[in-house]
């Protein structure tokens, strides 16, 4: 993900504060649709699709990366059809209940939120994001905490990889990890990650770290940043506050 964010690509070069603002703005607008406004909400797909194109990111690559998260977020509202059975619209001869509609709306909101967050991370390095947060005067302790968690996450994953490799090599033919081995394995993983994280923190302190990550970004806002911000704020506001789906529907019909 970091390599994606550090490509020599113009969306990646947009000021992180602009991208952070647009992501939050998009999520707020998307979740503000009422539970039956499926058509209006569908129009919000424009933003992720556009950004995928502009940033030259693979949509299917994103789906592949999010393959664990997306099914989980799709569970949101899965029981709605059982509680709200009143037919609220017809798709030809098929009646669609309020429960189905609200379930689809909730699922879309969750998927859009995940996609917007993915796009932010895929186009903005973590140091840049932290730089944007510091410009917003978010307390330093939170920013450092975020940065360290991000760094240690990699450490944890690496250690987890080593531990599971070592297990598999000594448990041939076994599917997965045996239940009784989970305890010691997790314990080892935590202890090792703790040691490694401590080493990293010591290395940072020995190289002058005083709780501030420095961003390589030079200069402030550029014209392109303002244009990007203005364009997307306008488009998103139009999609949210005008009945775009109805207008398009009338034009088509």
């Amino acid at each position: 993900m970091e390599q994606l964010a550090k490509r020599n690509q113009w969306v990646c070069a947009i000021h992180p504060l602009v991208k952070l603002f647009l992501t939050v703005f998009y999520i707020v607008l998307a979740v503000s649709f009422s539970k039956y406004q499926l058509a209006g909400l569908l129009c919000m797909l424009v933003y992720p699709l556009f950004v995928f194109q502009l940033a030259e990111l693979s949509f299917f690559g994103a789906l592949k990366r999010l393959r664990i998260v997306l099914p989980l977020v799709c569970l949101v509202g899965i029981f709605n059809p059982f509680f709200d059975r009143e037919i609220v619209m017809w798709a030809g001869p098929v009646g669609i209940s309020g429960g189905v509609l609200s379930m689809l709306t909730l699922m879309l909101k969750a998927v859009f939120t995940v996609l917007a967050s993915y796009l932010l991370i895929a186009t903005t390095a973590m140091e840049e994001l932290c730089h944007a947060l510091s410009l917003l005067h978010v307390p330093k302790i939170f920013i450092v905490e975020l940065m360290l968690i991000y760094r240690y996450l990699t450490v944890l994953l690496k250690e987890a990889g080593r531990v599971t490799d070592a297990y598999r090599l000594r448990a041939p033919g076994q599917k997965g990890i045996a239940f009784k081995a989970w305890g010691p394995l997790l314990g080892q993983l935590l202890l090792r990650s703790y040691d490694r994280a401590e080493g990293i923190y010591q290395s940072m302190c020995l190289r002058g770290f005083k709780g501030q990550f420095y961003s390589a970004r030079k200069g402030g806002f550029r014209r392109a940043d303002f244009v990007y911000l203005l364009a997307f704020t306008t488009v998103l506001s139009v999609l949210r506050f005008l009945p775009v789906a109805e207008i398009v529907g009338r034009l088509v019909l």
Partner: protein
């Protein structure tokens, strides 16, 4: 004229309620020296290095780095002069790319971006890895990681370099390359290692530790050729000398 960079007097250290890891250790080190710190496992080599950069402060005795006493209030000034190369490069390198990691220290010391860029380039060229500048840390080989680790501290332009087992897990070619790089470095170097051949190739002076006690401090050639002394303290002659003995 060489000047005193490190002065350790009657240093004793123990981890909480455990036995002393270092007992009454005293030595001095001057600029430009290359000192090998040798000893069997658990002799206290790594602990001594950690004490010299202030990673542990609850010790008895005194440590002076360039005349500054090792205490909390002086840590920032002391650490700005010392580069510490960790045994495990994965603990040393944590940024995304090589250039970012090498830039970490100078950026933290508040240098302007142009100077940071110059330092990064100079440090990478010094260890002959300028071509790796934009490479991802996760894609480096073991030997490359070690050289990048050294570059991360060279960008601080330290007066003292401490290395903990620098040749561990390196193949012969990378090890030879590392010896050349280390020999080209001017600052005072203290290298803790089990690899006595590496110490012989890089250091002019050797300090021998055994169970936390400084047993011998003297010219590398004299200590590393003293089979009886080395064997008495759990070590063996460097392999190069063993094979030379067999050949003759």
């Amino acid at each position: 004229m060489s000047e005193k960079e490190i002065e350790v007097r009657h240093l004793t250290f123990q981890y909480e309620q455990n036995d002393a890891v270092l007992q009454d250790v005293s030595f001095q080190a001057e600029s430009g020296e290359a000192i090998g710190l040798i000893g069997a496992n658990g002799a206290g080599k790594s602990t001594l290095l950690k004490l010299l950069v202030g990673l542990q402060l609850q010790f008895e005795g005194s440590i002076l780095i360039k005349g500054l006493s090792m205490e909390k209030g002086n840590l920032e000034r002391i650490r700005a002069d010392i580069g510490y190369v960790f045994q495990d490069s994965d603990s040393q390198l944590f940024m995304t790319t090589v250039s970012e990691d090498v830039a970490f220290a100078p950026a933290n010391y508040g240098l302007p971006p142009e100077e940071v860029g110059r330092r990064v380039q100079a440090a990478l060229e010094r260890v002959h890895i300028a071509h790796l500048k934009e490479k991802s840390i996760y894609k480096l080989s073991g030997g490359e990681k070690k050289l990048v680790s050294i570059a991360t501290i060279l960008s601080m332009t330290p007066d003292i370099i401490l290395m903990d087992e620098p040749s561990a897990a390196l193949d012969p070619r990378n090890r030879r390359n590392l010896i050349e790089v280390v020999n080209e470095l001017d600052p005072l170097k203290i290298i803790a290692s089990h690899d006595l051949d590496f110490i012989r190739d890089t250091c002019g002076r050797v300090i021998l530790l055994d169970s936390g006690v400084l047993v011998k401090d003297g010219p590398a050639e004299r200590i590393l050729t003293d089979r009886a002394l080395l064997e008495e303290h759990g070590l063996e002659l460097p392999l190069s000398l063993q094979s030379a003995g067999r050949d003759s």
